[in-house]
């Protein structure tokens, strides 16, 4: 399973999200290959899932990956819930 966490520049925000998504998946025992990147790079990358903010989700419409949103990157409850609802393991 390939997962991208995506932000505008691919330097800071997406890396923070990646750390917490890795933590959440690890706790659930789900194995995944996770990368963080910027929006334009993500558009041309192959992935099963993309996790990003509401503000950037629109520009990833049409991507073959399932795109889902996390609003609070520091809320592990929200991240866990988003994973449970969207990722089919």
């Amino acid at each position: 399973m390939k997962i991208l966490t995506v932000c505008g520049l691919g330097q800071g925000t997406s890396l923070i999200l990646r750390m917490n998504v890795e933590q959440a998946l690890g706790d659930k025992g789900i194995e995944a290959d996770i990368e963080h990147t910027d929006v334009s790079t993500a558009s041309s990358m192959q992935a099963d899932y993309i996790i990003t903010s509401n503000e950037l989700a629109e520009s990833l419409r049409g991507h073959s990956a399932k795109v889902f949103i996390v609003n609070n990157y520091f809320d592990m409850d929200e991240i866990n819930k988003a994973i449970d609802e969207n990722i089919v393991n």
């Binding site: 505008g8 520049l9 903010s53 509401n54 503000e55 950037l56 609003n71 990157y73 520091f74 592990m76």
Partner: protein
């Protein structure tokens, strides 16, 4: 020593009228410590204008940054607590009270700093402390835990 929320890189009760001046305030703390160039602060503001407020990544918390090649000398994190909430235009997390200026670098230190910051902000008690703090003394304890 890590350039992570040292006393000289933290400011409380800062006045900012809009998102750009809030970003400027966080960037200036990095500039004054010689950790970034002025070009980096300009790039932080341009990133906001071009890509929107996606870096408001939790309620009331913004982490503005730009690219390492925009003028970062050392990986670094500053903190500005705004006196009044400032609207950045984020659909879920507005308005902003806490601004962390991130000097993004390609070094391993960048990752270490982000891990520390995430460690602090994953705890809502720490966020409450950052909102009400009036001096460095008030936040020292939560920083110690992540050192």
């Amino acid at each position: 020593m890590m350039n992570f929320l040292e006393e000289s890189m933290v400011k409380f009760g800062v006045d900012a009228d809009d998102a750009e001046s809030a970003i400027e305030a966080a960037g200036k703390l990095l500039l004054d410590e010689g950790l970034v160039e002025q070009t980096y602060i300009d790039a932080m503001k341009h990133a906001y204008i071009d890509n929107g407020p996606y870096f408001v990544l939790a309620p009331q918390i913004a982490i503005p940054h730009a690219r390492p090649e925009d003028g970062v000398k050392e990986a670094s994190v500053s903190f500005v607590q705004l006196k009044k909430p400032v609207v950045f235009g984020h659909s879920a997390n507005d308005p902003v009270r806490l601004v962390f200026g991130l000097g993004a670098s390609t070094s391993d230190e960048h990752l270490t700093l982000l891990k520390k910051l995430t460690g602090i902000l994953n705890d809502t008690n720490n966020i409450a402390t950052l909102k009400t703090a009036t001096s460095y003394e008030d936040i020292k304890n939560i920083l110690e835990l992540e050192r």
